[in-house]
Structures are given as structure tokens and as C-alpha cells.
């Protein structure tokens, strides 16, 4: 625990226990999504699915990166992660991104992907709103993750025909916004 760090956040008026619980729930969402996206990605096959597979893989890796970036902040603020993986799954801030009943329906897989990203966008918006101008480090982290989640949402939204995302798939390394927290 970083004692003074936690004290500074407390003094800013934030309920640190609530903030930590929210960070743990979001970390749980990232790790479980990483698992579920593994299954979704493997099922993106055929003429339709193959074109989406690479971008789903990027989102999968970046969600794992988000988990790894969140954990140090949780410990700094004296938080704890569940000992039991089942508990971790069940406290996730987002519902499980299950493979659809018909795994050959690429559009249904895309709906699962976009809903997972939209849940994440809502979650990090909430963390940003809670911490803006108060807890600078958590805000910086949540904002970096939010930037990537917004891009993920827009990628899958584009594939669903909701309009252009405005950007292209990643070139080179993943996590352009979060990578500074992983070094």
C-alpha cells in the first residue's frame, strides 16, 4: 500500500473503499473478457469471420493489458483481489461475453463484442467522473483505458454497419494509450 497516496485520495473527498471496489470490479471485467474474447476470436471463422478475427485479437490483448495496468493501482490504494477465480468472475463490472448459441452467426458475435465494449466505456466514464480533478493517477489510468475501450467499441460498431469508426486497425504495438502504465 502507498500510504500517502491513499491519504491524498481520501483528502480529495473520494470514498476510497468505493473507488477500490469499482477498480477491482473493472479489473475483473477485463480479465474475464480476455477469457471470453479468446473463445469468441477462435469462432470468428469463414469468409465473414476471418476479416474480424485480427481486430478482435487486438481488443482481447488490450483488455488483458487493462487488467495488468489496473492491478498496481488497486494495490497502491490498499485494495485486494479475490483469492478465488470464481468470485472474481462473479463480481465483474460487466456481464459475461458468452459465445452466442449459434457460434457461426458472426453478426451475433459482433453484438456480444460491442456490448462488452459499451459496458467498459460506461464503467471507465464513471471512474473518470469520480476521480477527475481529485485522484490524478487513477484518472490518468482510467482515461487511458477509456480511450482504448472507445476505439474497440467503434471498431465493432463499424462492422455492425452503424457507421465508420474513423480509424484503422492498430499498426505495431497494442495499447497506445495504456502502454505507459505497463513499462
Amino acid at each position: 500500500m502507498a500510504k500517502v497516496t491513499r491519504e491524498m485520495v481520501e483528502r480529495s473527498g473520494i470514498n476510497v473503499d468505493q473507488l477500490v471496489e469499482l477498480l477491482v470490479k473493472n479489473a475483473a471485467a477485463e480479465l474475464t473478457t480476455y477469457y471470453y474474447y479468446t473463445i469468441l476470436r477462435f469462432n470468428l471463422i469463414g469468409l465473414e469471420g476471418e476479416g474480424i478475427k485480427e481486430i478482435a485479437e487486438t481488443a482481447r490483448i488490450e483488455d488483458r493489458n487493462h487488467f495488468e495496468a489496473l492491478v498496481p493501482r488497486i494495490y497502491e490504494l490498499d485494495g485486494k483481489l479475490p483469492r478465488n477465480m470464481n468470485d472474481f468472475h462473479d463480481i465483474s463490472a460487466c456481464p459475461p461475453a458468452y459465445l452466442p448459441d449459434d457460434p457461426t452467426d458472426v453478426r451475433e458475435i459482433l453484438k456480444v463484442l460491442v456490448e462488452a465494449e459499451r459496458c467498459a466505456v460506461r464503467g471507465y466514464t464513471q471512474v473518470c467522473n469520480m476521480t477527475a480533478g481529485k485522484d490524478h493517477r487513477t484518472y490518468d489510468l482510467a482515461q487511458a483505458i477509456l480511450n482504448e475501450e472507445i476505439e474497440h467499441e467503434s471498431w465493432f460498431s463499424e462492422f455492425l454497419g452503424e457507421g465508420p469508426s474513423g480509424h484503422f486497425l492498430r499498426r505495431g504495438e497494442t495499447s497506445p494509450f495504456v502502454s505507459k502504465f505497463l513499462k
Partner: protein, 83 residues
């Protein structure tokens, strides 16, 4: 449709096996089957058995997230009389 007082609504807080109800703009929704309302809590900050009309104004989502769930009643005295 069943009418709930605030005290009655408060019993549906997800504790001791109770269903999980919340109110919004006079309607009472049953969110028991929501993954995001487990144990009567939602995203750390919100508790079941309450009128969430004010909370939703600052939530990172709109009423559409609640409207997916069945309406099980109306909340009495949830409106302000205009004179």
C-alpha cells in the same frame, strides 16, 4: 398494477433471498435477473429497494438499461403535485 410505498419497495433489496426491485420515474422494475444487480448492488454505488430517478440523471447510461426489465408495479407518491 401493484402499488408500492417507499417502505415496501425497500424490502426488495436482494437480501435474504428477496427479489431485487428498483424504481425509476414512478415505475418499479424487477432487476433480479440482471448480472449487474447481484446481491442488490449495482456498480458499487447504487442499492436496490430505492427510487433511482435522481441517480440515473448522473449515471453513464440512460433509462434504456432499466426498461429491458419487467415492470412489477408503480411507486406511490413518486411524483410532485403541480399547483
Amino acid at each position: 398494477m401493484r402499488k408500492f410505498t417507499k417502505a415496501e419497495l425497500g424490502k426488495y433489496n436482494g437480501k435474504n433471498g428477496m427479489p431485487i426491485f428498483v424504481a425509476y420515474q414512478g415505475k418499479v422494475y424487477d432487476v433480479s435477473r440482471s448480472f449487474l444487480w447481484k446481491k442488490g448492488k449495482h456498480q458499487v454505488l447504487h442499492k436496490a429497494g430505492l427510487d433511482l430517478t435522481e441517480d440515473l440523471k448522473v449515471a453513464p447510461h440512460g433509462a434504456e438499461m432499466l426498461e429491458k426489465f419487467p415492470v412489477v408495479g408503480i411507486l406511490e407518491h413518486s411524483y410532485k403535485r403541480r399547483i
